[in-house]
């Protein structure tokens, strides 16, 4: 299995070639081919490994490919080694597969950009780092990738640095990049601390050793394991944009749209889920942490979901939606449904990449307009984009038999089973929001009348390099869920849950530690499945009734509300009740409270506030540097006196 080392090598070569000679090549097509070719090559290698692995018995599927010894000082030895197993291979396939499609798409999207080679160099660098993150056999190599993807993300968010960007407390793209990087560093701090603690306890940073001996070294729900997992989870909240470190992701939308699709939706932001899955044994040993993970995950899902309802920037809606979906995944991890989380990572990668690329296609076609209030009626101008985006909307909303349905339903089911009614209820509400805002976006963007200046703006369908990836992703969004059909359905259709049996060995250690509910729940599960389907459809229907005529509709209805015709328009009368009783408060609450208070004031405030405090301290501290040599001598003298008295005091 030594070819595994080639997987990260190809993007590295691509990065080196484009980075060094990109400017001299002067040929977009060639650069695009090198860039995407590198990723395709990695995908091919990963695919080969996948086929090989299928032919092996489950217990032989784990292998460690050592490249060289990275660092060896005394007891501290770390290898550059890749752990090829079911989990890392699945992530590799997602990263390289979707990465390839997005590279191809970028050839069209970035056409004519003055920094075309730089873009592809950064993208390849990103893929290289991401592959190191997921393939690593030890924490330190993962951390290298972890920091590396942060670096690539930083470079790509700031890619169009001269562009104005309207974010919270931010007016400029470069600031958005900086914010993302610094917020992430706060999370990395947790990972670093966790690594130190793990090494102190285990004497190694290898995943396999730690997972195997965790139950021996750590006592269940002891302080050590809780601290370690909390520190790790702090890192995950940074990378995967969970509360309280969620603030950077919406601002990260300042980057080019393919970047949003690849990094800030499909791959990098899921590295938190990867890390928890990789260390599932540790988390399973710490039920306290698990409860916190579930709580934070599900709250993030709901809060971000409701915020998504009031956003008008198409990419911002998708950004909040990503935060919300990541919240679902963490909720799944928190209730011990590791497979469900990874399953949702996969399906989410399909449909969110699709939605982002679709929105990119819209932005491209609309000449960089991102406000959905100024769109509408694009259905006929951009048929392929519309159809694929529509499929993506159905998939994310959880309409039965689209991919999102299976994965989201599995998460909700396990939330109910292991987490209880409350978590399930919040999750269901968040799922309702998802369906609602996604339909709202689709409706305002593609349906109804054109609300832009038809005389001057001529939307056009995007080129083939952009639409073909959309079509492929759309197909995946439809059928991607079939690998994880829940037993309750598969039982009747005689389809096994392929994903679950595939990932079973990876999560065996963690699952064994978590109390499993046994017994027959078929009827409950089917009921809940029906309920969540109804919720998704209700969300869509509600959005449809309000937004099908454009954003003015609800206002127009209010005018008519006072007239006698209102009874005749019974249908809309109900809408109004809905609106008053349900949508109105949610809209108001999410706009006025969750977004403006919780997100902007509290969460942003903490992040910006600490920056302000540091800045203020700096301007005070620098005054201590008076410039007069004798003052320095005095400070030195005081220091010596203090040291002397401390030491002499302690000897007596």
């Amino acid at each position: 299995m030594n070819i595994a080392a080639l997987i990260p090598l190809f993007p590295l070569i691509g990065f080196a070639i484009i980075g060094l000679f990109g400017k001299k090549l002067k040929n977009e097509k060639l650069i695009g081919i090198i860039g995407s070719g590198a990723i395709l090559a990695s995908f091919a290698v990963a695919g080969t490994l996948f086929v090989q692995m299928l032919g092996m018995p489950a217990e032989d599927r784990l292998s460690i490919v050592k490249v060289y010894t990275w660092i060896a000082t005394g007891s501290f030895t770390v290898d550059i080694a890749y752990q090829i197993d079911q989990l890392s291979l699945l992530f590799t396939l997602i990263i390289t597969g979707i990465g390839f499609l997005i590279h191809v798409y970028s050839i069209g999207y970035m056409h004519g950009d003055k920094s075309f080679p730089r873009f592809f160099a950064y993208l390849n660098l990103f893929v290289f780092m991401m592959l190191n993150l997921v393939l690593a056999s030890n924490f330190l190599l993962t951390f290298l990738g972890w920091e590396g993807v942060g670096l690539a993300s930083y470079l790509l968010i700031g890619f169009w640095y001269d562009k104005k960007f309207d974010g919270s407390h931010i007016t400029w793209t470069g600031d958005a990049a900086k914010k993302a990087f610094i917020v992430n560093r706060i999370g990395d701090f947790g990972v670093l601390i966790a690594m130190f603690m793990l090494f102190n306890l285990f004497g190694t940073l290898d995943y396999t050793t730690i997972n195997d001996s965790a139950t021996v070294v750590l006592s269940p729900n002891g302080t050590a394991v809780i601290l370690i997992t909390l520190a790790l989870f702090l890192g995950c909240t940074g990378k995967s944009a969970q509360i309280p470190l969620s603030v950077w992701l919406p601002d990260a939308m300042a980057g080019p749209t393919p970047v949003s699709a690849l990094i800030h939706a499909a791959t990098m932001v899921t590295s938190g889920i990867f890390l928890v899955s990789r260390t599932n044994v540790l988390f399973a040993l710490a039920p306290t942490t698990m409860a916190i993970v579930a709580g934070i995950g599900i709250s993030t899902a709901l809060i971000a979901g409701t915020i998504g309802i009031v956003q008008n920037d198409i990419k911002k809606v998708l950004a909040y939606s990503t935060v919300s979906q990541l919240g679902f995944m963490f909720a799944a991890l928190g209730v011990g449904a590791f497979t469900a989380a990874v399953f949702h990572v996969m399906t989410h990668a399909f449909f969110k990449a699709l939605l982002f690329l679709g929105s990119g296609s819209v932005i491209h076609g609309m000449h960089h307009e991102q406000d959905i209030q100024k769109m509408g009626g694009l259905k006929k101008h951009m048929p392929i984009t519309y159809r694929t985006f529509f499929i993506g909307t159905l998939a994310i909303s959880g309409i039965p038999f689209f991919s999102g349905f299976f994965s989201k339903d599995e998460i909700l089911w396990y939330s109910f089973l292991n987490g209880g009614m409350l978590i399930w209820g919040i999750g269901a509400l968040a799922a309702f929001c998802t369906a609602f805002y996604m339909w709202r976006v689709t409706s305002l963007t593609f349906h109804g009348e054109e609300r832009f200046d038809v005389a001057h703006v001529h939307p056009h369908e995007s080129p083939k390099t952009m639409t073909v990836p959309l079509i492929i992703l759309a197909v995946l969004s439809v059928v991607g869920g079939l690998v994880g059909i829940p037993h309750v359905l598969g039982h009747y259709l005689h389809i096994p849950n392929l994903l679950e049996s595939w990932l079973e060995p990876v999560f065996a250690g963690g699952s064994a530690l978590i109390r499993q509910h046994t017994g027959d729940h078929t009827s409950t599960e089917l009921t809940l499945m029906t309920v969540s389907t109804v919720i998704a459809i209700a969300g869509i229907m509600l959005a449809r009734s309000i937004y099908s005529g454009g954003p003015e509709k609800s206002d127009a209805l209010k005018q008519k509300f006072s007239t006698l015709h209102k009874i005749l328009w019974n249908k809309y009368y109900i809408d109004e009740i809905y609106h008053m009783a349900f949508v109105g408060p949610i809209l108001a609450a999410s706009r006025d409270f969750l977004w403006k208070i919780v997100d902007v004031v509290v969460i942003d405030g903490i992040v910006n506030g600490s920056a302000t405090v540091v800045g203020a301290t700096a301007s005070v501290l620098r005054k201590a540097q008076s410039g007069v040599a004798q003052n320095y001598a005095l400070v030195m003298l005081i220091g010596i006196m203090a040291l002397l008295s401390l030491v002499l005091y302690s000897t007596h």
Partner: protein, 477 residues
């Protein structure tokens, strides 16, 4: 009196070259800077070569006053390397200022000779001579631009405060001598660990004063305030040299001295001192990093950041373990390359643009000088401790050493302050990459400084990707 001639070769070579031959050459060949430059680069290269040859010859020489091989030989190579890199950068820099006098190179080599003595010292006399040789050379070099008021001011501050600190350092040495009856590290170490000191109180005072004196040399709180002003005012190439090699030399002396006077497991004042040093380290990195945020001059910002790095390095001293010491060696090496590289770039742009090193001058650098900007970005990422650059590993090892010795709180402070530092390192990168230059387009040649920058950046990449290149060497000591 045993003299291991082979092992002492590097020291003998640099002394002969400097004293016997170098001065004679300069006496007869006036104002031939090219010759003197070449001669001293050759001297340092030869010395480094001899040091590599003799690195296996462990032992002591000159009646036990000097240790040989291993650790000391490695530092010989490091100092000579730093000297060569700094000289390569200095030539075009001084040439532009019309200040290239051949004495500059003599001073540089005499500073290197002093540093080597510090690393080789096993006796307080040798340490004292080494420290002073290095410091006096630095005072002159800091004021080398004698018509530039900033340079003279920095020399004056450095000199007054340095001499003041020397007073305490040497008073501390006298106290150690009085307390234990010996100037030899080994003898002092025995007296400390066996508790056989004649006057324990003098020993305690001596320990404190030595710590203070050496903390001054490494620029640790509260003995750090000279550093930003001196580094800011001195000619940039001199800053590049003294903030890296000078700090490395001070730590190379710090390690064995403190291994002797603060050995593990003695308790008493050792524990108190460790705690005090830990607090000093924590405050040093916080003050350095936080004050750096408020700076608008890149040179001054780097000066404060070098204060902060002294704090990180002190964690290894606080840990006091063998692992801590090897972490210091690794980080010093990484730090030398990244800090010198970035200062050389600062000096290079400063002479190009002629209007100082304000951060505004860096806007759009990635457009004008893409290679230079990329390397500067690498140095900044490395200083911030972001993998895969060498700075990350050094930090990792230091942090781990502190945790191993039970100083978890210190590590948390260190990690937090390195998060703060990202802010200003990144600020520079944002300026270089994410802003446009206000329409200036210049081309100029880097001269020999290009080698320095290139070598530094290759080194931090290599050390980051293959850290075992260095850790394998360290583990043989």
């Amino acid at each position: 009196m045993n003299i291991d001639f082979f092992g002492s070769l590097p020291l003998v070579a640099i002394w002969l070259a400097l004293g016997a031959i170098g001065i004679v050459i300069q006496a007869f060949v006036r104002n031939n800077t090219k010759l003197v430059f070449g001669y001293y680069v050759g001297t340092l290269a030869l010395t480094a070569f001899l040091a590599i040859l003799s690195s296996g010859a462990k032992g002591s020489s000159f009646g036990g006053m000097i240790v040989l091989g291993g650790y000391a030989a490695y530092f010989d190579v490091l100092f000579c390397g730093a000297g060569i890199l700094a000289m390569l950068a200095a030539r075009p820099y001084l040439d532009r200022l019309n200040a290239e006098l051949d004495e500059f190179y003599t001073l540089m080599v005499s500073a290197v000779a002093g540093m080597m003595l510090m690393a080789h010292a096993s006796n307080l006399v040798v340490l004292f001579v080494g420290v002073e040789l290095m410091s006096i050379s630095f005072y002159v070099m800091a004021g080398f631009l004698r018509t530039d008021i900033k340079s003279v001011e920095s020399a004056l501050k450095y000199f007054l405060l340095g001499a003041f600190a020397t007073g305490f350092l040497v008073y501390g040495m006298a106290m150690l001598y009085g307390g234990t009856g010996s100037l030899d590290y080994v003898e002092i170490g025995k007296a400390v660990s066996n508790g056989t000191a004649t006057y324990p109180m003098f020993l305690a005072i001596g320990t404190v004063l030595m710590a203070a004196g050496l903390s001054f040399k490494v620029a640790a709180f509260p003995f750090h305030q000279w550093a930003p002003d001196v580094y800011d005012g001195a000619p940039t190439v001199v800053t590049a040299f003294m903030s890296t090699a000078g700090k490395a030399a001070a730590f190379s002396a710090f390690n064995p001295v403190f291994a002797a006077i603060m050995p593990d497991g003695v308790g008493g004042i050792t524990d108190t001192m460790r705690l005090a040093l830990a607090v000093m380290a924590a405050v040093t990195m916080l003050v350095g990093n936080i004050t750096a945020i408020a700076q608008t001059s890149v040179k001054r910002m780097l000066a404060f950041s070098s204060v902060a790095h002294a704090g990180y390095l002190m964690m290894g001293i606080v840990a006091g373990t063998a692992y801590g010491h090897s972490a210091i060696v690794f980080y010093l090496t990484a730090y030398m390359f990244m800090q010198m590289g970035s200062f050389v770039i600062v000096g290079y742009l400063e002479r190009e643009q002629g209007d100082g090193s304000d951060i505004e001058n860096y806007s759009g650098l990635s457009k004008q000088h893409p290679m230079l900007a990329a390397m500067m970005a690498m140095f900044m990422f490395s200083l911030a401790g972001i993998p895969p650059f060498a700075g990350f590993f050094g930090k990792y090892m230091l942090f781990y050493a502190a945790i191993q010795s039970g100083y978890t709180w210190l590590t948390i402070v260190a990690v937090a302050s390195s998060v703060i530092s990202v802010y200003f390192y990144l600020g520079l990168i944002v300026k270089m990459y994410f802003t446009d230059a206000p329409g200036k387009k210049t081309t100029f040649a880097t001269g020999t400084a290009g080698f320095t920058i290139a070598i530094c950046s290759v080194a931090i990449l290599l050390l980051g990707i293959f850290p075992w290149l260095l850790t394998n060497i360290i583990s043989t000591w």
